[in-house]
């Protein structure tokens, strides 16, 4: 595998008095898509939030693109080149689709100055965003909000995307268009760390895979290896996995 873009070493995270992450080791190779699997409450979201600086590791280190970001503030981590699509999507409901994307385009001073070629590229796989361009994001459907959340993360090029369970609660048709979008994203130079429970969704997308359980990393390897080995899937993911769509 290629060089590491993001490295977590022995990361422990406490939320209040709870000891959630208990020594996470994770190496996200540069380029490609890594899937982070694990059942409900395993600590996937906490891992992403720790990377993003929304929680801080009480022990261990987080290293991104050659920089120690363990104790950095969230805006600095974002500016270092990590984009985050949270589980609840974090859409600004009161703002229009356009304004949501404008704020995500950090280097753009005026909404009219957004990179139109890049927007067209995004509209290519998320056409709904063009249609609802001037509408408050709060009026979008769940799937459209997810598209907006992902579009926000890619409206300017970033080194790493953290995406937390994008298919949650979405209809199969929308899930398929998300797959197309991720396939398209994979052709760019962006590295993606994708949290999922829907194994079928990520089977075709992932290059590598990591499985987390109870705040610990229980498996890392290639996607080919895991998707070809039913016993391993059964052992790691058990019945918790949803085999939907």
């Amino acid at each position: 595998m290629s060089e590491a873009l993001l490295t977590l070493k022995g990361v422990h995270t406490h939320i209040g008095q709870y000891h959630i992450l208990q020594g996470i080791d994770l190496v996200v190779p540069k380029n490609g898509l890594m899937v982070l699997l694990g059942r409900n409450g395993a600590g996937k979201t906490t891992t992403l939030r720790t990377i993003m600086g929304l929680w801080h590791a009480s022990q261990g280190t987080v290293n991104f693109a050659g920089r120690d970001i363990t104790h950095s503030a969230t805006p600095d981590i974002s500016c270092a080149g990590i984009a985050y699509v949270p589980e609840n999507m974090g859409i600004f409901a009161d703002l229009t689709v356009r304004e949501n994307l404008f704020l995500a385009a950090r280097n753009v001073k005026k909404a009219g100055e957004m990179d139109t070629a890049r927007l067209e590229w995004i509209f290519g796989f998320f056409p709904a965003l063009r249609k609802f361009w001037g509408q408050p994001a709060g009026t979008l459907s769940g799937g459209q909000k997810q598209m907006l959340a992902i579009a926000r993360a890619i409206v300017e090029p970033r080194k790493l995307l953290l995406v937390d369970e994008p298919t949650k609660g979405l209809a199969p048709a929308i899930v398929r268009s998300l797959i197309d979008a991720f396939l398209e994203l994979k052709t760019t130079e962006t590295t993606i760390l994708l949290v999922e429970q829907n194994f079928n969704f990520v089977k075709s997308l992932g290059d590598s895979v990591a499985v987390i359980d109870d705040g610990r990393m229980v498996h890392t390897g290639t996607m080919a290896e895991l998707s070809g080995d039913m016993d391993l899937q059964q052992k790691l993911l058990g019945l918790a996995l949803e085999h939907q769509y």
Binding site: M52, P75, Y84, P86, W121, G124, Q135
Partner: protein, 345 residues
């Protein structure tokens, strides 16, 4: 990178979203004219009604100017600032530093000189309250981010200290804040008598609202403030420092409170150090009615509170004291989050 234009199939099921166009919530806007119309037959006389209504609107605009910053201060960082009224007092007292020595310009029967004097007074008051706001945020608010009980205690303490400082500097007696000559007197419109100053207050209030509206809707900083009120964590994850935004909002909000203090003080023409704490209750009622964090709600809330106060003061003076509380209860029964609730986190 963005050169490839893939032919991905558009997601189905978008059509239904087209039908769902209900972006603006107009209902709260209707309450104001409804209230005014309802009051007309009760008041009985049309000229009296006009006078009361304009008095209410003027008072509402002044309260809005004081309250607008506070609602954003709460919305953005969950900070409960019970010391906001201190900036109202300080603004009003600072204005005396300009208006008393410039007696000649204030008493001159020249609109230009009057405006210049008032302009200078407002400029000084807003500068002083803005700077004090900046210091207040650093010294008093910053150590208690996220701690509501401590915020209440320490900001109330700040308010008391500010009042005492005013006593030290300006003495304990009430002092005059002279109204510029050309702003005095009444205009007779039809049969109704309307104080000129009230029209000026309405004008300034509308201007402040328009400027805030433009900033919050048309500038990146304004959009970031609105986004931050809704989801501060996400604003940070997009790479912006919410605390920096907050300091800016705190300074602007304090300066606006100072402006409100000048306008309110001119209206009363005499000042006591308690002018700020007197308005604090009204200001809190207004931002709760409007929905914490919503400037539009704050605007409607301020006008509602002031109109109800004026109508009730005329119709049933005994009820007037509690009319605002009744109004707040009624609004919260209808919309528990206030007129416009800003979805939080």
């Amino acid at each position: 990178m963005p050169n490839a234009m893939p032919n991905t199939t558009p997601a189905a099921a978008d059509a239904s979203a087209l039908l769902r166009r209900v972006p603006i919530d107009y209902l709260p806007l209707l309450i104001l004219p409804l209230l005014a119309l309802l009051a007309l037959p009760l008041v009985g006389s049309f000229p009296t009604w006009v006078t009361l209504t304009i008095a209410g609107l003027a008072m509402g605009m002044m309260i809005f100017i004081m309250a607008s910053g506070l609602t954003l201060i709460f919305g953005l960082m969950d900070v409960l600032n019970f010391g906001h009224g201190a900036f109202v007092s300080i603004g009003a007292f600072t204005a005396t530093l300009v208006l008393l020595p410039m007696k000649d310009w204030v008493q001159a029967d020249s609109l230009l000189l009057n405006l210049l004097a008032l302009g200078l007074a407002v400029l000084l008051a807003m500068t002083v309250t803005g700077l004090l706001g900046w210091a207040f945020e650093r010294i008093i608010i910053r150590p208690v981010y996220g701690l509501h009980l401590k915020q209440i205690l320490i900001t109330m303490g700040g308010m008391i200290v500010a009042e005492q400082m005013i006593h030290v500097i300006w003495g304990v007696e009430q002092i005059p804040l002279p109204m510029p000559e050309t702003f005095r007197g009444v205009l007779i419109v039809g049969d109704a008598a309307v104080e000129k100053y009230r029209l000026i207050a309405v004008g300034i209030g509308l201007a402040v609202f328009a400027i805030m509206f433009l900033v919050l809707n048309r500038t990146k900083i304004g959009l970031l403030i609105r986004a931050g009120v809704e989801n501060g964590e996400m604003v940070e994850a997009l790479g912006y420092r919410i605390r920096r935004l907050f300091v800016g909002v705190f300074i602007a909000g304090s300066a606006l409170a100072g402006l409100g203090g000048v306008l309110w003080g001119l209206y009363k023409e005499t000042l006591t150090a308690a002018i700020g704490s007197e308005t604090t209750v009204l200001v809190f009622i207004v931002i709760i009615i409007g929905g914490l964090g919503s400037v539009g709600g704050c605007f409607i809330g301020a006008l509602l509170v002031a109109l109800v106060t004026n109508y009730a003061g005329f119709l049933a003076p005994k009820v007037a004291l509690v009319s605002n509380i009744l109004l707040m209860v009624a609004i919260l029964l209808w919309r528990p989050q206030g007129l416009y609730s800003v979805a939080k986190r």
